[in-house]
């Protein structure tokens, strides 16, 4: 368990946690219709932060220079500054680590760099700038796990505090909207043109929103500032559906597993409510209802905050935990704004008005593209020992290794293959043929996923596991530098020219870094944790620590893990299979 000692939400509803809580309690919504914004040919309904007001607020910070930072960076800095102040910590101390959660960072700069340096769209670059603004000396951890990023970042923070010697973790989540993101969701036909209706029988899709949110976590409860209530992140889990990169499991396999893990040993009578992802898409809300049904949670009130803030992407898992914590502290469970007539695959107790509660815990659920699902358990008051999922002790053994570069591939048995192709893209096709694979989905993938799947096939064959049998005790941990920027550029080309504007859904679905990890989980039916981290350079020690963390904190016995990068037509993959020895 770790302890929330300071938090903040920056959204159209306010600049602090208190302001956002007051607005939500009054059932205000930041969502409204937009037409012509971002040069989009179609209208949309969203929650946007006014950049002029953001700049005014930002200028009040010491040493702030508006022109140095992009919108998402300003939001993240503003949010972290307030949270750090309320936690009364020195963010420049080496005992503090920054964890940055974002799905797309500065992706809008692909359309026009606006004078920023070419590295600025890289997620690690934004994270460094945010951490350096506070004088923090540590390389920030960047979590980019699609919609579950915010919750995955909190799971990562717990490990950094409990296993890697840090005293405080500043977990910052932020995303902004742009032509890139909205056109992609429009091409998916996933957006509602009106206020979204989570869990409603007639829900028609989601609304997107901009926000930044920060929680400062401490390792020790002694570091909770005087007068602040004890808020504990008691448990967290991440599980993959191994089903489809953009469609959740109809039987909620991953979410049910994650929920079961965090509630293991915890009395569900103490759970005041479930804060669901509740995006208001048909499949997500149905899937969450099935997970709650399977976990016997259908008598517990469930709410969604999407009708207040929209889906705030990388900030969602943090923002919603902060607001749900306020609900517990104020003994008030919020209404699911937008829902009029509940109707989901399994009947659940959607909050149709505000409800009072005297219970002291809530369950957070979240799911996303790439098959990822996460659950967190938060308590207030006297810290209680939820059974933290105990993993496996013993040594970590390397079972197989494969490498792919622009010109060569090194197979696990030591065989070296050299490219006879004209470029790296063609080389990946050559490798596919060389391996004699029969996986038609390969041809639909972006180059990052192709490179990842080829290396995965090599190592999975080497350990005799390249079959499609269910592997509940296998997980995936990937790192890279470019996230999905290579595919992002391909997608940008489909929307760049107004005269030839045809956003491609099959390209957009790969504009998330973690999809490659999801593709591996799907192909080999791995239902353990899938995590994706972004860092400037490949750091073997960091990879090994992440691998050891997953073994120590989850039920995984095997991990497919490594560096999987593809950028500007250049490929660098080093993939390993690790086993924990009991």
């Amino acid at each position: 368990m770790i302890f929330n000692i300071g938090d903040n939400i920056v959204s159209p509803l306010g600049w602090t946690t208190a302001e956002n809580w007051s607005a939500a309690l009054a059932e205000c919504s930041g969502l409204r219709p937009y037409n012509g914004t971002f040069g989009l040919p179609e209208p949309f309904f969203a929650s946007l932060i006014d950049e002029e007001k953001l700049n005014e607020r930002f200028l009040k910070l010491p040493h702030s220079q508006i022109e140095r930072y992009t919108k998402v960076e300003k939001m993240a800095i503003l949010s972290a500054a307030d949270a750090v102040q309320s936690a009364a910590i020195d963010p420049s101390a080496p005992e503090v680590i920054f964890v940055f959660s974002t799905t797309k960072g500065n992706v809008e700069l692909l359309e026009d760099l606006r004078g920023y340096e070419p590295e600025r769209p890289y997620l690690w670059r934004s994270a460094q700038l945010v951490a350096r603004h506070f004088g923090n000396p540590n390389e920030p951890v960047v979590v980019s796990n699609a919609c579950i990023s915010g919750c995955a970042a909190q799971v990562a923070a717990a490990r950094l505090l409990q296993r890697h010697g840090y005293r405080y973790a500043v977990v910052v989540g932020a995303d902004v909207l742009s032509k890139f993101i909205i056109s992609g969701f429009q091409s998916f036909k996933a957006l509602s043109l009106q206020l979204c209706r989570p869990f409603d029988a007639d829900r028609t899709g989601l609304n997107l929103g901009e926000a930044a949110a920060t929680i400062v976590y401490a390792r020790d409860c002694a570091d909770i500032p005087a007068g602040r209530p004890c808020v504990t992140l008691a448990a967290g889990a991440i599980c993959n559906d191994a089903n489809h990169i953009s469609g959740p499991s109809r039987t909620a396999e991953g979410l049910f597993a994650a929920v079961s893990q965090v509630l293991d040993g915890f009395d569900i009578n103490d759970v005041a409510f479930v804060n669901a992802h509740g995006t208001a898409t048909r499949y997500n809300d149905d899937m969450e209802s099935v997970a709650m049904d399977r976990a016997q949670l259908t008598d517990i009130p469930v709410n969604s905050l999407k009708g207040y803030f929209g889906h705030t992407l990388g900030a969602a898992g943090i923002l919603e935990v902060i607001l749900s914590t306020q609900e517990l502290l104020h003994h008030r469970v919020l209404r699911t704004v937008g829902c009029e007539t509940p109707g989901t695959a399994a009947a659940v107790k959607v909050t149709m008005g505000q409800e009072s509660t005297d219970k002291s815990a809530f369950l957070k659920m979240i799911s996303g593209f790439g098959g990822g699902n996460a659950a967190l358990l938060v308590t207030v008051g006297e810290p209680r020992t939820a059974t933290e999922t105990t993993g496996n002790g013993g040594g970590v053994k390397l079972l197989a290794e494969a490498r792919i570069s622009d010109t060569d591939a090194l197979l696990p048995d030591g065989t070296k293959l050299s490219s006879t192709s004209v470029d790296t893209k063609q080389w990946l096709g050559e490798l596919y043929n060389h391996l004699g694979m029969n996986y038609p989905k390969f041809f639909k993938m972006d180059c990052l996923s192709k490179a990842g799947i080829l290396a995965a096939e090599m190592v999975m064959r080497a350990v005799g596991q390249s079959n499609e049998e269910l592997k509940n005790d296998w997980g995936v941990v990937c790192f890279n530098s470019a996230a999905s920027l290579d595919d992002d550029r391909t997608y940008q080309a489909t929307i760049q020219d107004p005269e030839n504007y045809f956003p491609s859904p099959s390209v957009f679905v790969y504009t998330l870094a973690n999809i490659v990890a999801g593709e591996m989980a799907i192909k080999y039916k791995m239902r353990g944790e899938t995590s994706f981290y972004v860092s400037q350079h490949f750091d073997k020690e960091r990879l090994e620590k992440a691998v050891a963390d997953v073994f120590a904190r989850t039920g995984a016995h095997y991990l497919l893990a490594g560096w999987v990068d593809y950028d500007n037509g250049h490929c660098n993959v080093q993939l390993f299979v690790f086993k924990i020895e009991n």
Binding site: H244, S246, F443, P503
Partner: protein
């Protein structure tokens, strides 16, 4: 109509990256989804883009595709009746 069916088959193979397939491999009367080509929901969305890009037909609701994408022949008939380019 037969010419449009052939044209559509080629376009479907290209936009959906159906590697190794030729127009002769696609039965214009067989269901596009479910068994057969192994297409999924993202492919259906990409077919909606194809209809707009190549034939000027705009579908607002992805559910409309369910009827239109029953087979290549049904799709061709729909395009014939609604195309604007």
């Amino acid at each position: 109509m037969e010419q449009l069916i052939e044209e559509l088959k080629k376009e479907i193979i290209e936009v959906l990256n159906l590697e190794g397939m030729t127009p002769a491999d696609i039965d214009e009367n067989a269901p596009l989804f479910g068994e057969g080509l192994g297409l999924d929901s993202i492919d259906a969305l990409e077919l909606i883009v194809l209809m707009e890009k190549n034939y000027g037909i705009k579908l607002q609701n992805a559910n409309e595709g369910k009827e239109i994408f029953k087979s290549v022949r049904v799709m061709a008939e729909y395009i014939n009746a609604h195309r604007t380019k």
